[in-house]
Amino acid sequence: MSVGEDVERAVAVRQDPRALPSERIALVDLLDRLLAGGVVIAGDVVISIAEIDLVRVSLRALITTVKEEYDDILPH
């Protein structure tokens, strides 16, 4: 296939959570789904959406200190 090489370079990563151990799924992709997705039901222990947004803010504050921990799961 003549375009094969280009395609390989352009589509850099195709993760398959079923083919990979869960530790290899980028946390950031997981949090997109777990913090903003899923059925929202008020549990008896209530964490409001606003507080979930706070999680994102606190994550941003945390990343500088924990960056190294991520390096092994980052997409390249």
Binding site: V3, D6, V7, A10, V11, A12, V13, R14, Q15, D16, P17, R18, S22, E23, I25, A26, L27, V28, D29, L30, L31, D32, R33, L34, L35, A36, G37, G38, V39, V40, I41, G43, D44, V45, V46, I47, E51, I52, L54, V55, S58, L59, R60, L62, I63, T64, V66, K67, Y70, D71, L74, P75
Partner: protein
């Protein structure tokens, strides 16, 4: 464990009990089901010293705790979603006891039925597209300004740079739209997520698209082929696919394409 609560991962329909065998949940707690009328709520008993409101506020700000909990939550949902239609519930939803969960299954029966009906036989795929740094490269301004006064040349150069940046970002926006429009044809629904923070994701270039698509299971290959084809003819754009995911992004009643 004096005070305990019930952590809810999601709700599955017609789940075989075998699907849960030895599945560890959050904080290493075993996963079990609370059943009502064909629905199985996936739950773990958790210590409120870790999952009570005060504790959750604190713990959700610990990246280490959040990551461990998110991965455990995902492992449960992902495992069960392979065995039965599953509606994931947002992370950190905790009930007082099993009766409250059963009550929820009854109260939200219509909503759960609708969500499960939407995701049965379908999976979510994530598509992220990036404009590579080369795509934003500025073309040379040319040397026709050589006779200008230095100040004029500077202003002209600045204006050209500005124009070429605007042009590059307009082109990327058009490419993002084209990617989304093309891939949407393979999906029954889509949902945009905000672009990821590069400090968290470590990505290079500009994230121009972060979308989840809900697909019939057998359309995954055609989506991937379409993404390959798009990437091949957009030299400055990189496309990443992740999936299949449980349908996390399609559990809202108003989610649609």
């Amino acid at each position: 464990m004096a005070d305990v609560g019930v952590y809810l991962y999601g709700v599955a329909q017609d789940l075989s009990p075998d699907a849960l065998r030895d599945l560890p949940g959050v904080a290493g707690a075993p996963v079990r089901t609370v059943a009502d009328g064909g629905f199985a709520a996936l739950v773990s008993t958790v210590d409120l010293e870790e999952f009570g409101e005060t504790a959750l506020r604190r713990n959700l700000e610990s990246l280490q705790w959040l990551e461990a909990t998110a991965r455990a939550h995902h492992d449960v949902v992902d495992t069960v979603a392979r065995a039965a239609p599953t509606a994931p519930v947002r992370i950190a939803t905790v009930y007082r006891d099993d009766d409250r969960v059963r009550e929820l299954l009854r109260e939200r029966r219509d909503e759960l039925t609708e969500v499960l009906g939407r995701v049965v036989g379908r999976v979510e795929w994530g598509v992220k597209a990036y404009g590579t740094p080369e795509a934003a490269q500025e073309p040379s301004g040319g040397d026709d300004a050589a006779n200008d006064k230095p100040g004029m040349a500077y202003l002209r150069r600045r204006r050209l740079q500005q124009q070429s940046r605007e042009e590059a970002s307009r082109r990327l926006a058009e490419q993002a739209q084209e990617i989304h429009a093309t891939l949407s044809e393979h999906a029954v629904a889509s949902r945009q997520h905000p672009p990821q923070d590069p400090r968290l994701s470590g990505h290079e270039g500009t994230m121009i698209l972060n979308v989840a698509y809900l697909l019939d299971e057998d359309r995954a290959e055609t989506l991937a082929a379409a993404a390959d084809e798009l990437a091949a003819r957009m030299p400055g754009v990189r496309i990443e696919l992740t999936g299949p995911w449980p349908a996390y992004s399609f559990t809202e009643l108003d989610a649609s394409s």
